[in-house]
Amino acid sequence: MADKLLMIALSPTMEKGTIHTWHVKEGDAFSTGDILCDVETDKTTMEYESPEDAILLKILVNEGGQASVGDPIAIFGEEGEDISPLLDEIKKEKSSKPDTNREEKEKEPASEKKTDPDIEEESPESQKTTQPEATTRIKASPLARKIAEERGLNLSQIRGSGPQNRIVKRDVENYKPQEKSAITHAPSSENSDQRIPLSEKRQIIAKRLSESKYSAPHFYLRVQVDMTRLMEARKRYHETHPDAKTSLNAWLIKLSSEALKKHPEVNSGWDTDALIRFGNVHIGLAVAQEDGLITPVVKSVEYKKIAQVDHELQGLIEKAKNNKLSPEEYTGATFTISNLGAWGIEEFTAIINPPGSAILALGAIEKKPVVINDEIIIRPMMSMTLSCDHRVIDGATGADFMKTLKAYIDDPALALT
């Protein structure tokens, strides 16, 4: 039975994908798990694995072509099958879909305007309910949706094995976040004039950060912390463990997780009709890339030692720099840290990274005169600014958290209490 191969969401935020390379030709047979094509998503280039054994009968979106999630990109089936009914169906779907892409829209004479599906009068026979509302609708059985919700899985990352790629129980139960190898590719050709086309990544960064900034009422809490003892602790650790080399970020991530454990209300999220108190502390670290930024996430920091946090962090940063992070590795941060110290930035405020409700912006460590016991002493000081979503975190709550975190950094031994 011939069927449509649909563009699937290869990242949680993906709405469109560009076919980078087809690995199978029309007429080629493929098996479940074979890589059919590489798809450039908003974040990275992902491999599209085959959901079943079949023959590729027709490619609908060629290399370089773009398709929205849910749109057909090819037809597969058995050898010699007649695919004309499917092609007609696709054509019909295409023509009945409200065309949102204005640039591609042919200019129509005013007299023919009434054929525009957006303003077409509804005939009694028209079965509006059968039209998919949006191409991004994910097909999943009610049970699969329920299990995914219970396990906190994102359906868009799960490949469906049912009819029309419906996600069913077994798909959710067998789903394992896998590391995807990705092909790095040269940035798109540069224009000689000053108009730079937006990459999907840039568009998504713009969209998500705007959404965060506009929907979450941000407020900011700033403190200066004395880094003397933390830096000493780290130094002593390196002296006693000559092979180990831990980054300061790993220490700050770990201390943040200890403070979050004490203040779970900061390790929370907003969900329109409820607050989500996250069960684990997953901390993301903003990492700059050539063409944007990404936040690899160290999962369940509360159960990990600093050395392990650092080891994972280095691996994630390496992948991030090479565009090789899988969606599981850059989503789901319940708290985020952004450190611009390396750039010599004294202090700054960051935009919250959903689903978390707070982001900690760290500035450069600089020697500064501070007053201790009425004496002016030079100490390595760092500025920390916490951006909070006021829907979730009140001023005093955020302040309590910052007080705890400051105390831990001032004296890391306190984190053990």
């Binding site: 009610p142 699969a144 949706r145 094995s161």
Partner: protein, 328 residues
Amino acid sequence: MAVITYREALRQALEEEMHRDKNVILLGEEVAQYNGAYKVSKGLLDEFGEERVIDTPITEEGFTGVAIGAAMAGMRPVVEWMTFNFSIQAMDQVFNNAAKMLYMSGGQFNIPIVFRGPNGPAEYLASQHSQALASIYAHFPGLKVVAPATPYDAKGLLKSAIRDDNPVVFMEAELIYAWEGDVPEEEYLIEIGKADLKKEGDDVSIITFGKPLQIVTEAADVLEKKGIHADILDLRSLRPLDEEAILKTVKKTNRAVIVDESWPVAGMASHIGWIISHKAFDFLDAPVELVTSEDVPMPYNHTLELAAQPSVDKIVQAVQKVMYIREA
């Protein structure tokens, strides 16, 4: 525990209840002197006499109406229809009098009556005599409807039906009368409105009632060989319907195939499918599948006659569909 036929189980139920209550009478075509068209009433005329075992003319509407009147007057009649295909003649009496009398008399007249006989297709009987009418009887409020598929269920349910103060439509099947099964020697009753899990399995729920239980059981054996373990829920009663049992099995297996030898439109199967989708929506991993007769009058040609009805193969296919298994 004795192994007896389905027809003998019915006969025992009639005999025991006629002994227990002198108001229980049996009437219908050929029930007395001929011992019943399917020999269900064998020996009852000799045992209880012609006042209680009554041969009637070929007048379904007439003798059904007479029996309803007798029930209003305090008797507990059991009406045997030679086949439910002939009961179509008597539907006005059943639907408009028996089903509604208690309601329309403001609770003054109970109708303690049982309408029984073979329902559904048998073989070589053509369109007019091969009809499964369960959903039509189940459609009317005021009637209880049962369709037992084993000798044990038949005896226990017929005794309960005779003792019930409401009209009970009791559906048998021509091809079922010779089926054998264990029936205890001692007296027992089966509550109307209780389904029975005939087989346990975790993978899929197959829900059925009446004669198709046999092909469902065969299909379950075929599925076992493929490593698929089915729950088989025999509804036994259609009104009242054991929704609790239906939901319990579906919530366990997350998939349902309903096998009903009636037609697909507005049938029991589609009603049960709606109940499942309405009350167990979040437990479903696949759309509910129905295996029913084809939506055509029953063909006389035997090959077509078999093709028009549910079969072991159709049930296996439906199960594989709800389990998302594609046959190689």
